[in-house]
């Protein structure tokens, strides 16, 4: 399927401003060509960004859980490129690439990883909880499959609000064994909601092989349990991912058809920066994917074959590295959140301070400060 959809597109070499959904200017129905050079720019930016994040983690500028998607850039960029500006995106915790592909500035993402005020989640979320509501990115979530029911609700709201859009919900292969997967897909099915469940099958959930965890390892076939379309695509082929995503998103938008798209990919790093990633797979396997199936190398090769000039390709990497360096500089310069803002955002209702104003008596130490900061007399 992947191969049949393959096209190189350097003949008409568009260059949209900055990075962002490449298809935003294309027509609704006919599968448009992907701007492969632009896709390469995004993949390269994501790759270099995550390699930098890895370095910064080792330097303890980044903490907590940090999940890199190095090797999965083709899957991420191909799918996001098929989204329109009005579409919504919800993902798991492995989310750096999604924010960047959707157009969030590297500065805002790196600042979030650094836990700074100017981070895309104001430093409150960190690596797992990036978001960009302005671009329809409703967050990276940390509980396996927990984001699926939420994505269903976002699609439900779109239908109720009569917006013609699609919701992309990314999850991993390990998430398809959670009950939330079943309930979410069943609801999407009976309510006919415009949501595409984008399963990134990278072969493992932490150290567990798909075959060991899932009684139906061909995950896209599970869509049938909900009379839903299920497809599988080569995730290292950014054009194939784009074409498959485009078709399913289009059907979701215009016919409210939910679907499952299983994207076959591979994470070249460990589960998180804390995992060497070699206890449960061979070095040979990793090298095989790195050498033969790297989505960036594959795309570059196609562009070369299509006659793109070498200096143009060099520029891609140069520009990406410059953007990453700028992001680090920006993150370093951004202030750490002040402890006096600890209680900001616990609640959103303007009356909250008043509501809590009578709670002070007998409060434990841990709460008294929060009440004070919430503007409730303690």
């Amino acid at each position: 399927m992947a191969t049949t959809r393959r096209r190189t597109t350097t003949s008409r070499n568009r260059r949209p401003e900055g990075i962002g959904p490449a298809t935003s200017t294309t027509a609704a129905n006919d599968a448009p060509d992907l701007d492969l050079l632009e896709a390469l720019r995004q993949m390269t930016l994501i790759r270099l960004f995550e390699q930098e994040a890895e370095r910064q983690y080792k330097r303890a500028r980044i903490g907590g859980y940090c999940h890199l998607a190095i090797g999965q850039e083709g899957a991420t960029v191909g799918a996001v490129a098929a989204m329109r500006p009005e579409d919504k995106l919800i993902t798991s915790y492995r989310s750096h690439g999604f924010a960047l592909a959707r157009g969030t500035s590297p500065e805002a993402v790196m600042a979030e990883l650094f836990g700074r005020e100017d981070g895309c989640a104001a430093g409150r979320g960190g690596s797992m909880h990036l978001l960009d509501p302005g671009r329809g990115y409703l967050g990276g979530w940390g509980i396996v499959a927990g984001q699926l029911p939420i994505a269903v609700g976002v699609a439900l709201a779109a239908v109720k609000q009569e917006q013609e859009l699609a919701v992309v919900c990314e999850l991993g292969d390990g998430a398809v064994n959670m009950g939330a997967w079943h309930e979410a897909l069943n609801l999407a099915g009976i309510w006919r909601l415009p949501v595409v469940f984008l399963v990134f099958n990278n072969g493992y959930g932490m150290g567990t092989k798909v075959e060991q965890a899932s009684a139906e390892p061909e995950i896209h076939k599970r869509a049938a349990a909900f009379r839903m379309t299920g497809e599988r695509v080569d995730g290292q082929d950014v054009e194939a991912v784009h074409a498959a995503s485009h078709a399913l998103l289009d059907a979701a938008r215009r016919e409210r058809k939910p679907a499952v798209l299983e994207v076959m990919t591979y994470r070249l790093r460990g589960h998180s920066v804390a995992d060497a990633g070699t206890a449960y797979r061979t070095r040979e396997e990793i090298e095989e994917w790195a050498e033969k199936r790297d989505p960036i190398a594959l795309a570059t090769q196609r562009l070369v074959e299509a006659g793109v000039a070498a200096d143009e390709l060099d520029a891609v990497e140069r520009e990406a590295q410059a953007a990453v360096d700028a992001a680090v500089a920006f993150a370093e310069a951004s202030p750490q959140p002040d402890p006096s803002t600890l209680a900001d955002f616990v609640y959103g209702d303007p009356h909250t301070g008043e509501q809590f104003s009578r709670m002070g008596i007998g409060s434990p130490a841990g709460e008294r400060t929060v009440l004070e900061q919430m503007g409730a007399a303690a």
């Binding site: 029911p149 699609a155 009578r358």
Partner: protein, 336 residues
């Protein structure tokens, strides 16, 4: 039903009708409000709280769901993040256990974790309580767990007026709010002023009965138990008990409680659930520490017997925090 025509002026209606009236009024007032839940449509609600609303507002505003609490509570979170105001019915509190992750680790986290950029104006209404021989899996009252979670608000109406007023306030609140109703209270009657909007502010306790010798603090159905116990205490033992209806567990109105204890110097906390590590643990601690110098005796606590609720009537009766237990505990606190 009288409630559903909502004529002007004071009306006597059941707690069930009052909750239904609140939903009707909010559905009419705000197009972004919609109801979700199992059997709330053609079945008219497992406990008939939503009766008639499906017929009047249709399937888009009153959405029947499959048995998938985790799924539709999560869907409500997503809808709330998108600007709608879902009001979810969980048939009874017991069933929220399968949706715990969406309530505690998703709804409660949205606003903070994302730096205040996305809100979650979600309401979950569900009845707690025992007393119908529903046995161990269907007789629980662990609402205190949610009151432990920053990011959530928890209210528990004890009267028809508050069943309407607190639900309306919760629906209009921009944060996720759990509204704890009660199976025994559904049939309880009371006055509701339908001529006014009738919103009960979240975070204000109510003095349900005035008294001088003892402060009884409770929420939900335990308030009714305390009120009848108070009558008996007065009549049989000459103890004048003040009864505080907390109304809200998070936030908690300690000012009202402390003012009462300052007057009575004695306190008894009562709840339907298990008292150890329950709601009364928090309330009694705050009284004990916040009113340290005012207390003439240790704060008392009464809850359900700490067993999984048995089926046999003889055992269930023995397990409930009934009037006799409250009176005994009250006399203990009063040294009478």
């Amino acid at each position: 039903m009288s409630a559903t025509q909502a004529p002007a002026g004071i009306e006597t209606m059941t707690y069930r009708e009052a909750a239904r009236l609140a939903m009707r009024e909010e559905l009419e007032r705000d197009p972004s409000v919609f109801l979700m839940g199992e059997e709330i449509g053609v079945f008219q609600g497992s406990y008939k709280v939503t009766a008639g609303l499906f017929d009047d507002f249709g399937p888009d505003r009153v959405m029947e769901t499959p048995i998938s609490e985790e799924g539709f509570v999560g869907a409500a979170v997503g809808a709330a993040m998108s600007g709608l105001r879902p009001v979810v019915e969980i048939m009874t509190l017991n069933f929220i256990l399968v949706a715990m992750d969406q309530v505690v680790n998703h709804a409660a986290k949205v606003h903070y974790m994302f730096g205040g950029q996305v809100g979650c104006p979600l309401v979950i209404r569900t009845p707690n309580g025992a007393g119908n021989q529903f046995t161990a899996q269907h007789s629980q009252s662990f609402e205190g767990w949610f009151a432990n979670v920053p990011g959530l608000k928890v209210v528990a109406p004890a009267t028809p007026a508050d069943a309407r007023g607190l639900l309306k306030a919760s629906i209009r609140d921009d944060d996720p709010v759990l509204v704890i109703e009660n199976l025994q209270l559904y049939k309880a009657k009371g006055e509701v002023d339908t001529s006014v909007d009738g919103v009960t502010e979240i975070g204000r306790a109510r003095v349900a009965r005035e008294g001088d010798d003892l402060t009884m603090v409770a929420h939900s159905f335990a308030v009714s138990r305390c009120l009848s116990a108070a009558e008996r205490l007065q009549a049989d033992h000459g103890i004048s008990a003040e009864v505080i209806d907390l109304r809200s567990l998070r936030p908690l109105d300690m000012d009202t409680v402390a003012a009462s204890v300052a007057k009575t110097n004695r306190a008894l906390c009562v709840e339907e659930g298990w008292a150890s590590y329950g709601v009364t643990a928090e309330v009694a601690t705050r009284i004990s520490t916040g009113c340290f110098d005012d207390l003439d005796a240790p704060v008392g606590r009464v809850g359900m017997a700490e067993v999984p609720m048995p089926y046999a009537k003889s055992l269930e009766d023995a397990a409930l925090p009934h009037q006799e237990k409250i009176i005994t505990a009250a006399r203990e606190v009063c040294g009478a």
